[in-house]
Structures are given as structure tokens and as C-alpha cells.
Symmetry: C2
Subunit: 275 residues, 2 copies
Amino acid sequence: MNLTKLKQHKSFSGYTCVYQHDSKMTKTPMKFSVFSPQETVQHCTIWLSGLSCNEENFITKAGAQQYLANTDTMLVCPDTSPRGLNLPHEHDDYDFGSGAGFYVNATTEHYRNHYRMYDYISKELIELITKNFNIKTFSIMGHSMGGHGALMLGLREKDLFKTVSAFAPIVNPSECPWGQKAFTGYLGKNRELWQAYDATELLRQGYQHDKAILIDQGTADEFLESQLLTDNLQQAAGKVGQQLTLRYQDNYDHSYYFIASFIRDHIEFHLRHRL
Amino acid sequence: MNLTKLKQHKSFSGYTCVYQHDSKMTKTPMKFSVFSPQETVQHCTIWLSGLSCNEENFITKAGAQQYLANTDTMLVCPDTSPRGLNLPHEHDDYDFGSGAGFYVNATTEHYRNHYRMYDYISKELIELITKNFNIKTFSIMGHSMGGHGALMLGLREKDLFKTVSAFAPIVNPSECPWGQKAFTGYLGKNRELWQAYDATELLRQGYQHDKAILIDQGTADEFLESQLLTDNLQQAAGKVGQQLTLRYQDNYDHSYYFIASFIRDHIEFHLRHRL
């Protein structure tokens, strides 16, 4: 599990870095960015990015570092898919294949050997970070496809991820075009196999997180009605008793400007509630 | 002076926007980004970016908006050169031509009709912002090439720009490779013509700003010794009595991570001292 440091920039008294390692799960080199506020940290928040992003979008645009400065919590931002492959249709669209791994373990013929992002995040990356940075606890958050990844991974791995939050998550991918396209391509047409990777379905199946989940959603988000389907998660959470703090933010859209405006609240939420 | 709004994103209770207009100075369409914390503002801080940047680098990466939220001061970030032309050698290198206007009025044959960035910033943009946003006072800051632009414009237009600050500025372009290449290309080989656009030379000639100038410079900046020549400005300022707050920041480099780490101080400096 060799880590190669590709970049290092002092930031807010700590360091923002980009690392690369050879992943056993994806059988490709994988990159992730990190903010380490101090030499010794104990906790880690994982950020999962959305469609078309890589490991650097969040760390360059969200302004998150300042809110972790001088704490004992680091930030880790993995890439959104394997890279450097040339699988059938992998690079055709922004919403499937490269940049769009959807945090699932693919089962379809062309993708199952590499697109294993669920195991990559929840096993390999966690082990790598734990060993290399001596981390004791993890929390998880993300945006859009990555917001859904945080909800889905948080519900399925609730002992691992102490707190869960999301910005503008796709909450019910089985029921929206982005999710249907990705799940068909990675998991095939049998919709029963999709349920294990759909946060709203997981709630309906009885998966719950012990802590309240925090979600911020902009009311001017151009994908709210067609892709995000926020109501579906709210209704499912209400029915099963999952605590949920869902905040509609007036006139905010789907962009990083929205994330930057509220990332402080999310980081403080993770710092406050993880224990 | 028609302004076209190309983008608008709610940010920190205000709006981050990108505008375009047809410039008389450059005879091209020019873009600039804006953060307006409220509908009505009275003051404006201009940000000048460095080599290879456009009107969006600072507004997406520096995290500046939060420190202007709920104030009466807007932020305006112009592009670093005209665009859409195809002048000889204009797109050959990152440090000359497009993305590298150096905030001068060119006099050389191929560039003099379009590369008039000094007049574009100090006259056309100021007039446009004043009229469209009802602005009363301006201040100026920038990074690297734009840090020098802020120093140079601030010294020459001290009644217009009430306060001046810079991150990692090229302080003496006549004496470094970046500046020599740009000034030769825009102004020709007669070095006497360069002095009007060189902040250190302007200090030596007697130009001064009434207020102390704030400069942050990272000690791990990869361009410090070869291009920035920070000492030259410090010595010239000392000789002529220009007040200067020059802060060397330990282990910070030339990147936007450095800018993000200290932009709060610069914005507070401009808010505090402009009156």
C-alpha cells in the first residue's frame, strides 16, 4: 500500500496534498486529495464528489480547509471513478463511466473488474487512511452523486461512518434518469440489484443511521425536480423514523458556490456529533 | 456600455456573477466576475489575477465571498488580457499575450490596438462599475502579475484606489524574465518606456501611496528568487518612505492555497483602511 505524494501546498497552517496509490479494488492507480490541519490527527471526514469531478474539485473550490484548521480532523477527497482505462462507452458521457462511478461495485461484464467504488471507498481507502494517518474515526459527506454516495455508504456502514451529511444529493437513483442510466450500466437491468445502492430504498428496507443526517438543498437547484427527488428520501425517513435535518436553502443552485456557502455548517456538524 | 450577465450563483447570501461587455479599449468582448453581497453596495475592491488566469480563477478558488458577506463592498475580478484575437505569438506561451496582459497599454505594432489593459482597468472598467453598481470608492489587490498590477495601478492612481494590497507580486518586472519578456513584447526594447509600468521604478521616481501597502509573500514560493524580487520593492519603499507591511509567510507557495489562507486579512485591510 505505497502512497506517492504528488502535490503539497501549505494551507491554513496545515497542508493540502494529492496522493496516488495502486488500487487493488480498481486495478488502476487512484488519486485522492487530503487536508491535514496538523501533523497528528485522529479523525477523518471523507468527501465524495459529484458527476464529472475528480479528487481536486472540492479541495480547490469549497473553502473547507479553514474550518478544519487547528483541529484533529483531516479531510480526504477520493476520485469519482477509476481512470486510465478504455472500457466500452466509458468516456462517452459525463454521467456514466469515468467521473461517474456512483460508488457501486459493478457487476456487468465490462465494468465489474474495475468499477468497484463501493469497496474502494469503504474498505481500501479507509484502510489506507487509517494506517497511513493513524485515524480512529471516520465521517462522510458529499455532493450530488457523491451526496448520495455519502447517504448510501453511511446507511450501510453506520458503524464506520459516525456522521453523515450531503449537499444536493441524488436521493433515489433508481427513480431518476442519472441513476437509472448508471445502475443499468454498472448493475444490469434487474432492478432488485439496484436496491442495495439506493439510499431511499435502504431506508425502506430498514437501514438507519443512529445520528440525524444533515442535508442542504438549494431551492434554485436546476436538478431538484428531475434528478434529485429530495421528497422521496424525506418521506421514507419519516416513515421509518430516521432522524433527518433537511434544510432548503432559498435561491441556491447546484454549484460549488452553494457548497462553499454552507460547508462550514457541515464540518461543524461532523466535528460536533461524531463522538 | 451594455452589460450582459452570463452567470449568476447565490453565494453567502449574495450573488457571484460573470458579466460580459464590448470594450472600447481592447476592441474585444471582455468578461469580469463579481460578488455582490447585497443589492445596494457603495464600495468595490478590484482583484487582478496572475499569468494564465481568467476572470474566474479567483472567484472560484480564493474563498473571498464569505468575508464580504453582509458588507457594503463588492468584488470585481477582470480578465487578464483581451480574448478572441489571433495576434502574432499571442497564444504561444503562458507568459505573454493571452492571459498575460500585464496591465499595460501596449505600444508595439501588433499589440497596441488591443492590449490596453491599463486604460481598460483604470478607466473603462472603473466607469462601468461606477455607473452600473453605483460605487463610490475603489480599492485594488492582486496576485503575482496581478499583484504587480495592483501595486503599479495603486501608485499611479492613488486618488482612485484608496488602498492597495498584493499576494506574491512581481515587484520589479524590468529586472525579471517574466517582466522583460512582456515589456519587450508590449512596449519595445527602450527600457525607459518600461518605468511607467514598474512598481519599484515608480517608487524611485517619487510615486507614493498615502496608505501603507499590504503584501503577503510565501517563503516557499517557487518564483521568489527568480521572478518576484520582493527585496527590490522593500528597499525602494524604505528609501522613499513608502509605508509597507510586508509579511513573509513561512512555507507558503505561489498557489491559490496561499491566497485562500490570507485573503481574509486582505479584505479586512481594505474594509478598514479605505476611508
